[in-house]
Amino acid sequence: MDPHTSVARSPFSSVVQRRRSKSYRQSYRSYVGTMSHLAYTPGFTKRRLTTCRLAPKRCSTAEMNPEQRALLVREWQLSYVTPLYRFQHGHLKTYSRQLAAFLVSERQQGVAAEVGLESTLRVTFTLVAGMAQTEEEADTVFIKIHSKTPLAPPDDPQKVLWSGWLTCVGGDPDYLRTLPEDFVCLPLFCSGGTEGLTALVKAWFQRTFDCCFGRLEINSVNLQWLAALWTDCHARTSIKQLKLVWSLPAEPPMEVIYAMHAQDTSELWRSVRQPGLREEEDDGSVGLEEVACFFKGLKSHFYRHFRVELSAGRLTQVSTALGSAKHGGRIKISNSSYMITTLTLLTECALLKMPI
């Protein structure tokens, strides 16, 4: 019945009404209800795939504040987070106290209470300014867990046991506008520290803000995007070398590490990126076909020399001087200049992976 109605309606209305404000997520849900065919994915999926991205923009190092510098220090494990209910940026001190109390009580569960020289925990929530790209995005929140021994002098540097941050950089403005009032969207969660503490922090967030966490893996197409975007930056900031790690399904499983000089990759990238394009005409966007062509060139070069077809395997890691990304969801950003671009891509991955 439904397909007939939609087909019959179009000749009657000569004006196609495009509804800009309706949430496409709501219509996706009702659409799935009416039609479910084998191998018939709702049209929503087609819109999600980005075929064109803006070329990386450099942000100068002088503008970075110390909090942003803290994000460059280590390798982070990524997860996605659903929107947080009633998270207020003004109440960060309260949240720090609540989280510290929660962690201490979880630790003491099942252990006989003792008065002693146990080290206590201190939690700090800080705002990292300057990362949000539009006014609809929430500011990044950085969380640190210190351990504090009661007998140490007050100005002793405290050991950081765990750190993590929640962020939204360059999120889809249509989606952010359709969220209800009380929800704050910070879809990317990066954690660095022990697994136990990570799980406890996630449990506290789930309890307090009614959100869900999940593993975020970077699939091979996004790793290719990262490699291409980083190579594009070579003209302005040297990437030193482009290293790709592939895993091939041979018996025993073979790992191929393919490292190239930055100069060679940059020349290949320039030749792929519209041969004959002059510097002034560059409109600053990178297409998916260019990335695919770039990788086809790299793989065919490898095949010509070693007779190993890399398409049969999976790309598991990409690293340059600007950062490194692994398939399992680990990311390290080494250079502050192109941090925003990398985070925009990762935020988009998180938004796509998030269950609706």
């Binding site: 439904d2 109605t5 939609s6 087909v7 309606r9 179009s10 196609v16 009404q17 509804r19 309706k22 496409y24 219509s27 996706y28 009702s30 659409y31 009416t34 039609m35 084998l38 191998a39 018939y40 994915t41 049209g43 929503f44 999926t45 087609k46 999600r48 795939l49 893996e217 699939n219 091979s220 197409v221 996004n222 399904p249 998916l288 077809e309 398409s311 049969a312 395997g313 999976r314 398939h327």
Partner: protein, 188 residues
């Protein structure tokens, strides 16, 4: 010369032959083992890694009723090899005698672009696209049963039904932008 044609040989009575093309040569063995056990029709299964088929077997080869391309979605090479093999298939096959079967469609690490590319390929050629699970014996049996349904029709063993007729009902569809917009506007 090296192009496979559907009607160049005479058919056998109550027999059907299928060609399974797969780059990894793994799933096709399992499928073949299940499909030859069929009793109602005598099924002959030919296995190939890619087309064109070697010329030296040309004399002994029976008439191929159905060509199935088995694509493993986790490997980009699988899809590329299937696309390259399509060029060596005669036009007569695309009237219902070609079928695509993909495995690993639900894998967590699958890039969505590859799935969309396979669906566009199948819908552009008006061929059915089947999803299979190849790791368990049950999955292999189910996949073989579905292929046998199409094979029986393609070989002419089902009265009043032709391969073209069946492919019109089962072919893969990828809607264009305008159709999607109409379908989404429906629930306003």
């Amino acid at each position: 010369m090296s192009v496979l044609r559907p009607l160049s040989k005479l058919p056998d009575i109550n027999a059907a032959s299928v060609l399974l093309v797969e780059n990894e040569e793994d799933f096709q063995q399992k499928l073949a083992g299940v499909m030859v056990k069929e009793k109602s029709v005598m099924v002959k299964v030919r296995l190939a890694k890619s087309l064109p088929l070697p010329a030296k077997n040309e004399q002994n080869r029976p008439r191929i009723d159905l060509v199935v391309f088995l694509i493993n979605l986790m490997s980009a090479l699988s899809l590329q090899s299937a696309e390259a093999s399509l060029k060596h298939l005669g036009q007569g096959y695309f009237l219902g005698k070609v079928c695509f079967m993909v495995t690993n469609a639900r894998h967590a690490a699958l890039p969505a672009e590859r799935m969309l590319a396979v669906r566009k390929l199948a819908s552009g050629l008006r061929c059915p696209l089947l999803y299979a699970e190849d790791q368990t014996p049950d999955g292999v049996t189910n996949a073989a049963e579905r292929l046998l349904v199409i094979l029986r029709v393609a070989a002419g063993c089902v009265p009043m039904t032709t391969a073209l007729f069946l492919s019109n009902l089962t072919s893969c569809i990828v809607p264009t932008e305008e159709e999607e917009q109409q379908n989404l506007d429906f629930d306003a």
